[in-house]
Protein backbone atom coordinates (compact mmCIF):
# COMPACT_ATOMS: atom_id res chain seq x y z
CA UNK A 1 0.00 0.00 0.00
CA UNK A 2 1.55 3.30 -1.12
CA UNK A 3 -0.10 5.45 1.56
CA UNK A 4 -1.75 5.08 4.94
CA UNK A 5 -5.37 5.80 5.72
CA UNK A 6 -4.67 9.23 7.22
CA UNK A 7 -2.75 10.30 4.12
CA UNK A 8 -5.57 8.95 1.92
CA UNK A 9 -8.11 11.01 3.87
CA UNK A 10 -5.98 14.14 3.64
CA UNK A 11 -5.53 13.75 -0.12
CA UNK A 12 -9.27 13.22 -0.62
CA UNK A 13 -10.15 16.27 1.50
CA UNK A 14 -7.59 18.41 -0.37
CA UNK A 15 -8.96 17.34 -3.77
CA UNK A 16 -12.64 17.28 -2.81
CA UNK A 17 -13.54 20.67 -4.33
CA UNK A 18 -11.75 19.74 -7.56
CA UNK A 19 -13.32 16.28 -7.73
CA UNK A 20 -16.76 17.72 -7.05
CA UNK A 21 -16.25 20.41 -9.71
CA UNK A 22 -15.24 17.85 -12.34
CA UNK A 23 -18.10 15.55 -11.30
CA UNK A 24 -20.63 18.41 -11.59
CA UNK A 25 -19.40 19.25 -15.08
CA UNK A 26 -19.48 15.61 -16.18
CA UNK A 27 -22.91 14.75 -14.79
CA UNK A 28 -24.41 18.26 -15.10
CA UNK A 29 -26.43 17.42 -12.03
CA UNK A 30 -25.48 18.16 -8.41
CA UNK A 31 -27.05 15.06 -6.86
CA UNK A 32 -25.41 12.76 -9.43
CA UNK A 33 -22.12 14.60 -8.92
CA UNK A 34 -22.22 13.93 -5.16
CA UNK A 35 -22.98 10.24 -5.79
CA UNK A 36 -20.13 10.07 -8.30
CA UNK A 37 -17.62 11.56 -5.85
CA UNK A 38 -18.76 9.27 -3.03
CA UNK A 39 -18.56 6.18 -5.25
CA UNK A 40 -15.13 7.30 -6.48
CA UNK A 41 -13.77 7.65 -2.94
CA UNK A 42 -15.16 4.25 -1.93
CA UNK A 43 -13.67 2.59 -5.04
CA UNK A 44 -10.36 4.37 -4.57
CA UNK A 45 -10.09 3.09 -1.01
CA UNK A 46 -10.77 -0.47 -2.18
CA UNK A 47 -8.20 -0.09 -4.98
CA UNK A 48 -5.51 1.53 -2.86
CA UNK A 49 -3.08 -1.26 -3.76
CA UNK A 50 -3.05 0.01 -7.34
CA UNK A 51 -1.65 3.40 -6.31
CA UNK A 52 2.07 3.15 -7.01
CA UNK A 53 3.22 6.22 -5.08
CA UNK A 54 1.60 9.10 -3.24
CA UNK A 55 2.75 11.69 -5.79
CA UNK A 56 0.53 10.01 -8.40
CA UNK A 57 -2.58 10.32 -6.21
CA UNK A 58 -4.31 13.11 -8.18
CA UNK A 59 -4.10 11.39 -11.59
CA UNK A 60 -4.96 8.05 -10.02
CA UNK A 61 -8.14 9.23 -8.28
CA UNK A 62 -9.33 11.28 -11.27
CA UNK A 63 -8.89 8.17 -13.42
CA UNK A 64 -11.13 6.29 -10.98
CA UNK A 65 -13.64 9.15 -11.07
CA UNK A 66 -13.70 9.11 -14.86
CA UNK A 67 -14.07 5.31 -15.01
CA UNK A 68 -16.82 5.43 -12.39
CA UNK A 69 -18.64 8.00 -14.50
CA UNK A 70 -18.33 5.81 -17.61
CA UNK A 71 -19.57 2.77 -15.68
CA UNK A 72 -22.58 4.74 -14.46
CA UNK A 73 -23.35 5.88 -18.02
CA UNK A 74 -23.19 2.26 -19.18
CA UNK A 75 -25.36 1.12 -16.29
CA UNK A 76 -27.99 3.68 -17.27
CA UNK A 77 -27.77 2.60 -20.88
CA UNK A 78 -26.36 5.90 -22.07
CA UNK A 79 -23.39 5.47 -24.36
CA UNK A 80 -20.74 7.96 -23.28
CA UNK A 81 -19.44 10.04 -26.14
CA UNK A 82 -15.85 9.48 -24.96
CA UNK A 83 -15.67 5.99 -26.29
CA UNK A 84 -14.99 4.55 -29.69
CA UNK A 85 -13.58 7.64 -31.26
CA UNK A 86 -11.40 5.84 -33.72
CA UNK A 87 -9.90 8.66 -35.75
CA UNK A 88 -8.68 11.43 -33.47
CA UNK A 89 -5.85 12.90 -35.49
CA UNK A 90 -6.86 16.10 -37.28
CA UNK A 91 -6.89 15.68 -41.01
CA UNK A 92 -4.22 17.34 -43.13
CA UNK A 93 -4.80 21.08 -43.15
CA UNK A 94 -7.77 20.84 -40.80
CA UNK A 95 -8.44 24.23 -39.25
CA UNK A 96 -10.14 24.61 -35.89
CA UNK A 97 -12.65 27.39 -35.38
CA UNK A 98 -11.05 30.44 -33.80
CA UNK A 99 -12.79 33.48 -32.33
CA UNK A 100 -9.53 35.34 -32.80
CA UNK A 101 -9.59 34.65 -36.54
CA UNK A 102 -13.15 35.92 -36.68
CA UNK A 103 -12.42 39.18 -34.88
CA UNK A 104 -8.79 40.16 -35.21
CA UNK A 105 -8.16 43.23 -37.36
CA UNK A 106 -4.41 43.80 -37.79
CA UNK A 107 -4.65 47.43 -38.88
CA UNK A 108 -6.60 48.25 -35.68
CA UNK A 109 -3.84 47.03 -33.37
CA UNK A 110 -2.91 50.46 -32.10
CA UNK A 111 -6.47 51.73 -31.79
CA UNK A 112 -8.61 48.96 -30.41
CA UNK A 113 -8.58 45.26 -29.87
CA UNK A 114 -11.93 43.61 -30.67
CA UNK A 115 -10.84 40.10 -29.67
CA UNK A 116 -9.62 41.25 -26.26
CA UNK A 117 -12.88 43.15 -25.77
CA UNK A 118 -14.68 39.90 -26.60
CA UNK A 119 -12.80 38.20 -23.75
CA UNK A 120 -13.52 41.09 -21.37
CA UNK A 121 -17.23 40.57 -21.91
CA UNK A 122 -17.30 36.82 -21.39
CA UNK A 123 -18.89 36.01 -18.05
CA UNK A 124 -18.34 32.96 -15.88
CA UNK A 125 -21.87 31.83 -16.80
CA UNK A 126 -21.07 32.09 -20.52
CA UNK A 127 -18.08 29.80 -20.05
CA UNK A 128 -20.03 27.32 -17.91
CA UNK A 129 -22.82 27.21 -20.49
CA UNK A 130 -20.40 26.69 -23.36
CA UNK A 131 -18.56 23.98 -21.43
CA UNK A 132 -21.80 22.19 -20.61
CA UNK A 133 -22.72 22.22 -24.30
CA UNK A 134 -19.50 20.47 -25.36
CA UNK A 135 -19.75 16.74 -26.14
CA UNK A 136 -18.42 14.73 -23.19
CA UNK A 137 -15.25 13.49 -24.88
CA UNK A 138 -14.28 17.12 -25.56
CA UNK A 139 -15.51 18.47 -22.22
CA UNK A 140 -13.32 16.14 -20.17
CA UNK A 141 -10.06 17.14 -21.91
CA UNK A 142 -10.82 20.86 -21.54
CA UNK A 143 -11.70 20.34 -17.87
CA UNK A 144 -8.54 18.37 -17.15
CA UNK A 145 -6.24 20.67 -19.13
CA UNK A 146 -7.62 24.16 -18.60
CA UNK A 147 -9.48 23.88 -15.30
CA UNK A 148 -7.41 21.27 -13.50
CA UNK A 149 -4.06 22.05 -15.15
CA UNK A 150 -3.19 18.44 -15.90
CA UNK A 151 -0.25 17.82 -18.22
CA UNK A 152 -0.92 15.99 -21.49
CA UNK A 153 0.64 12.83 -20.08
CA UNK A 154 -1.55 13.01 -16.95
CA UNK A 155 -4.64 13.43 -19.14
CA UNK A 156 -3.50 10.49 -21.28
CA UNK A 157 -3.13 8.39 -18.14
CA UNK A 158 -6.50 9.48 -16.76
CA UNK A 159 -8.38 8.80 -19.98
CA UNK A 160 -6.27 5.78 -21.00
CA UNK A 161 -5.50 7.21 -24.44
CA UNK A 162 -2.20 8.08 -26.17
CA UNK A 163 -0.71 11.57 -25.66
CA UNK A 164 -1.19 12.27 -29.39
CA UNK A 165 -4.91 11.68 -28.95
CA UNK A 166 -4.99 14.13 -26.04
CA UNK A 167 -3.28 16.75 -28.22
CA UNK A 168 -5.65 16.37 -31.15
CA UNK A 169 -8.75 16.02 -29.00
CA UNK A 170 -7.83 19.18 -27.10
CA UNK A 171 -7.37 21.09 -30.37
CA UNK A 172 -10.79 20.04 -31.58
CA UNK A 173 -12.38 20.63 -28.18
CA UNK A 174 -11.02 24.16 -27.99
CA UNK A 175 -12.20 24.91 -31.53
CA UNK A 176 -15.67 23.63 -30.68
CA UNK A 177 -15.75 25.57 -27.40
CA UNK A 178 -14.84 28.78 -29.22
CA UNK A 179 -17.52 28.12 -31.82
CA UNK A 180 -20.10 27.80 -29.04
CA UNK A 181 -18.86 30.99 -27.33
CA UNK A 182 -18.95 32.77 -30.68
CA UNK A 183 -22.52 31.64 -31.31
CA UNK A 184 -23.55 32.72 -27.80
CA UNK A 185 -22.02 36.14 -28.44
CA UNK A 186 -23.75 36.40 -31.82
CA UNK A 187 -27.04 35.50 -30.19
CA UNK A 188 -26.39 38.24 -27.63
CA UNK A 189 -25.87 40.81 -30.35
CA UNK A 190 -22.23 40.62 -31.40
CA UNK A 191 -21.87 41.46 -35.05
CA UNK A 192 -19.32 39.66 -37.16
CA UNK A 193 -16.21 41.39 -38.36
CA UNK A 194 -14.97 40.58 -41.86
CA UNK A 195 -12.56 37.63 -41.96
CA UNK A 196 -9.25 38.54 -40.38
CA UNK A 197 -6.04 38.48 -42.39
CA UNK A 198 -2.81 37.47 -40.80
CA UNK A 199 -0.29 40.27 -40.78
CA UNK A 200 3.25 39.37 -39.94
CA UNK A 201 6.10 41.81 -39.86
CA UNK A 202 7.92 39.93 -42.58
CA UNK A 203 5.73 41.59 -45.18
CA UNK A 204 3.19 39.40 -46.98
CA UNK A 205 0.10 40.78 -45.28
CA UNK A 206 -3.34 41.25 -46.62
CA UNK A 207 -5.19 44.26 -45.36
CA UNK A 208 -8.94 44.15 -44.73
CA UNK A 209 -11.14 46.94 -45.97
CA UNK A 210 -10.72 49.71 -43.37
CA UNK A 211 -14.23 51.10 -43.43
CA UNK A 212 -15.90 47.73 -42.91
CA UNK A 213 -13.52 46.67 -40.14
CA UNK A 214 -13.90 49.99 -38.36
CA UNK A 215 -17.67 49.66 -38.48
CA UNK A 216 -17.48 46.13 -37.09
CA UNK A 217 -15.17 47.19 -34.28
CA UNK A 218 -17.53 50.02 -33.35
CA UNK A 219 -20.53 47.68 -33.37
CA UNK A 220 -18.75 45.11 -31.24
CA UNK A 221 -17.76 47.74 -28.70
CA UNK A 222 -21.47 48.11 -27.96
CA UNK A 223 -21.99 44.37 -27.62
CA UNK A 224 -23.60 43.53 -24.29
CA UNK A 225 -22.59 46.92 -22.86
Amino acid sequence: MAILKKAFENQVIDLLGRMHGVACRLTRNDADAEDLVAETVARAWRALDTLEHEAAFRGWIFKILHNTFLDECRRRGARPQFESFGCEEPEEGEQQFSVFEQMHQPFLLWFSNPEQEFLDKILRDDLERALATLPEHYRIVVILSDLEEFSYSEIAMTLAVPVGTVRSRLARARGTLQKILWQQARDAGLSAAPPARHECEDGKADTPRPATARQAARANKDWKS
Binding site: G17, H20, W45, E115, R124, D146, E149, R174, E201, D202
Partner: protein, 78 residues
Protein backbone atom coordinates in the same frame (compact mmCIF):
# COMPACT_ATOMS: atom_id res chain seq x y z
CA UNK B 1 13.80 31.85 -42.18
CA UNK B 2 15.18 35.35 -41.88
CA UNK B 3 13.65 37.29 -39.00
CA UNK B 4 11.76 34.82 -36.83
CA UNK B 5 13.52 31.49 -37.32
CA UNK B 6 10.10 29.86 -37.41
CA UNK B 7 7.28 31.12 -39.57
CA UNK B 8 3.78 32.06 -38.43
CA UNK B 9 2.26 28.82 -39.68
CA UNK B 10 4.56 26.77 -37.49
CA UNK B 11 4.14 29.15 -34.55
CA UNK B 12 0.36 28.86 -34.69
CA UNK B 13 0.55 25.10 -35.07
CA UNK B 14 2.38 24.75 -31.76
CA UNK B 15 0.75 27.69 -29.97
CA UNK B 16 -1.43 25.63 -27.63
CA UNK B 17 1.42 23.33 -26.70
CA UNK B 18 3.42 26.45 -25.85
CA UNK B 19 0.59 27.85 -23.71
CA UNK B 20 0.09 24.46 -22.05
CA UNK B 21 3.84 24.34 -21.31
CA UNK B 22 4.20 21.11 -23.24
CA UNK B 23 6.93 22.17 -25.66
CA UNK B 24 10.52 21.02 -25.22
CA UNK B 25 12.98 23.80 -24.33
CA UNK B 26 14.37 24.40 -27.84
CA UNK B 27 10.91 24.78 -29.38
CA UNK B 28 9.79 26.93 -26.47
CA UNK B 29 12.71 29.27 -27.12
CA UNK B 30 11.96 29.54 -30.83
CA UNK B 31 8.33 30.32 -29.98
CA UNK B 32 9.37 33.02 -27.55
CA UNK B 33 11.64 34.59 -30.14
CA UNK B 34 8.86 34.52 -32.73
CA UNK B 35 6.35 36.08 -30.32
CA UNK B 36 8.79 38.88 -29.57
CA UNK B 37 8.86 39.88 -33.23
CA UNK B 38 5.43 39.01 -34.67
CA UNK B 39 2.62 41.21 -33.42
CA UNK B 40 -0.12 39.14 -35.01
CA UNK B 41 1.00 35.85 -33.44
CA UNK B 42 1.56 37.64 -30.14
CA UNK B 43 -2.04 38.92 -30.24
CA UNK B 44 -3.29 35.39 -30.92
CA UNK B 45 -1.13 34.07 -28.08
CA UNK B 46 -2.54 36.69 -25.69
CA UNK B 47 -6.10 35.83 -26.70
CA UNK B 48 -5.69 32.08 -26.23
CA UNK B 49 -3.72 32.52 -23.00
CA UNK B 50 -6.40 34.76 -21.49
CA UNK B 51 -9.20 32.41 -22.54
CA UNK B 52 -7.38 29.51 -20.88
CA UNK B 53 -6.85 31.66 -17.78
CA UNK B 54 -10.58 32.46 -17.66
CA UNK B 55 -11.45 28.77 -17.95
CA UNK B 56 -8.94 28.02 -15.21
CA UNK B 57 -10.86 30.37 -12.93
CA UNK B 58 -13.89 28.07 -13.13
CA UNK B 59 -12.04 25.22 -11.49
CA UNK B 60 -11.30 26.84 -8.18
CA UNK B 61 -14.55 26.20 -6.33
CA UNK B 62 -15.02 25.16 -2.73
CA UNK B 63 -16.95 21.92 -2.12
CA UNK B 64 -20.46 22.39 -0.74
CA UNK B 65 -21.03 21.54 2.93
CA UNK B 66 -23.28 18.69 1.77
CA UNK B 67 -20.56 16.84 -0.12
CA UNK B 68 -17.96 17.65 2.55
CA UNK B 69 -20.12 16.12 5.30
CA UNK B 70 -20.93 13.08 3.19
CA UNK B 71 -17.32 12.36 2.32
CA UNK B 72 -16.13 12.98 5.88
CA UNK B 73 -18.65 10.37 7.11
CA UNK B 74 -17.62 7.99 4.34
CA UNK B 75 -13.93 8.36 5.18
CA UNK B 76 -14.51 7.68 8.87
CA UNK B 77 -16.44 4.52 8.01
CA UNK B 78 -13.62 3.06 5.86
Amino acid sequence: MTKHEIDCERALKQLFEFIDQELPEDRRDEMQRHLHTCRSCFSRFEFERRLKEKLGGLGKGEPSSGISDRITKLLSSL
